[in-house]
Amino acid sequence: MNPELIVFIIFGAVSIIGAIAVISFRHPIYSALSLIVTFFSQAGLFVLLGAHFVAAVQVIVYAGAIMVLFLFVIMLLNLGTLSAKGALTGKLKGVAIILGILLAVEGVYIAVRALNKTEVGSAEAADAAAALKDSPIDTYRIGELLFSDYLLPFEVTSLILLAALIGVIVLVKRDKQPEN
């Protein structure tokens, strides 16, 4: 058995279980913790794919920053257990799950069958990619690209973050109470 496959199965299984846990727990704290599990196992998959930089960022940004934010808000609002009754009544819930399954089937179908017919999935593309594998995609290369070809998007990203920063301040700012 291929060791890579074993690792993949472990991480894959954990991330799927984590994901299911996210949508199953009633208490948002549990959901958030499950999500962290999923994120970590995804980071593992990234490592498996040789994307070390992304894996590191995944851990730092997602599992670190974003999830802390989630937990922080949940604590702040002091959200207790919520009633399991969803917005959609039981029947619609069934509909939603059936839909989800259909969507999954379609997604899998694309991944397994449809892709091969396209240019990306063709054997030639794979061969061409194999030739490129001599120069592995490491952090150095990503940095090089980021600061040359993708400099503008990179800077725009910083603007988005700035906008988000300002937006958050405006949103949560306490309205001035009229002085009596």
Binding site: N2, F8, G12, S15, I16, A19, V22, I23, P28, S31, A32, L35, T38, F39, L45, L49, G50, A51, F53, V54, Q58, V61, Y62, A65, I66, L69, F70, V73, L77, K85, A87, L88, K93, A96, L99, G100, L103, G107, I110, A111, L115, V120, G121, A125, A129, A131, L132, I137, I142, L145, Y150, P153, T157, I160, L161, A164, G167, V168, L171, V172
Partner: protein
């Protein structure tokens, strides 16, 4: 011998679908939000898998951008949730229905 692309894509599809189902069946805005993150991650996974498959660094770059945007989005989204909660004392999406025609 690395694993075929299809493995990762199937996993990505499954994760994505779970996210969709979560968005559909949960009424807590925060959990819906988490499910959205889940879907974004599923997409990221596909990106990276393709990146390796094609030997191109761009896939990973986009993941980087997605993460940046996701961070911004989470910040804004959570701020909205906080202020909605301040006004309505609830974050159940079916109770926040002022879009009703």
């Amino acid at each position: 011998m690395s694993l075929p692309l299809e493995y990762y894509l199937v996993l990505s599809a499954l994760l994505f679908t779970i996210g969709v189902i979560g968005v559909l069946i949960r009424r807590n805005a925060i959990i819906i939000f988490m499910c959205i993150e889940l879907m974004l991650n599923a997409a990221n996974l596909a990106f990276v898998a393709f990146s390796r498959h094609l030997g191109q660094a761009e896939g990973q770059l986009f993941v980087f951008f997605v993460m940046a945007v996701a961070a911004a989005e989470v910040a804004i989204g959570l701020a909205i949730i906080v202020s909605v909660f301040k006004h309505r004392e609830t974050i159940n999406v079916d109770e926040v229905n002022s879009l009703k025609g």
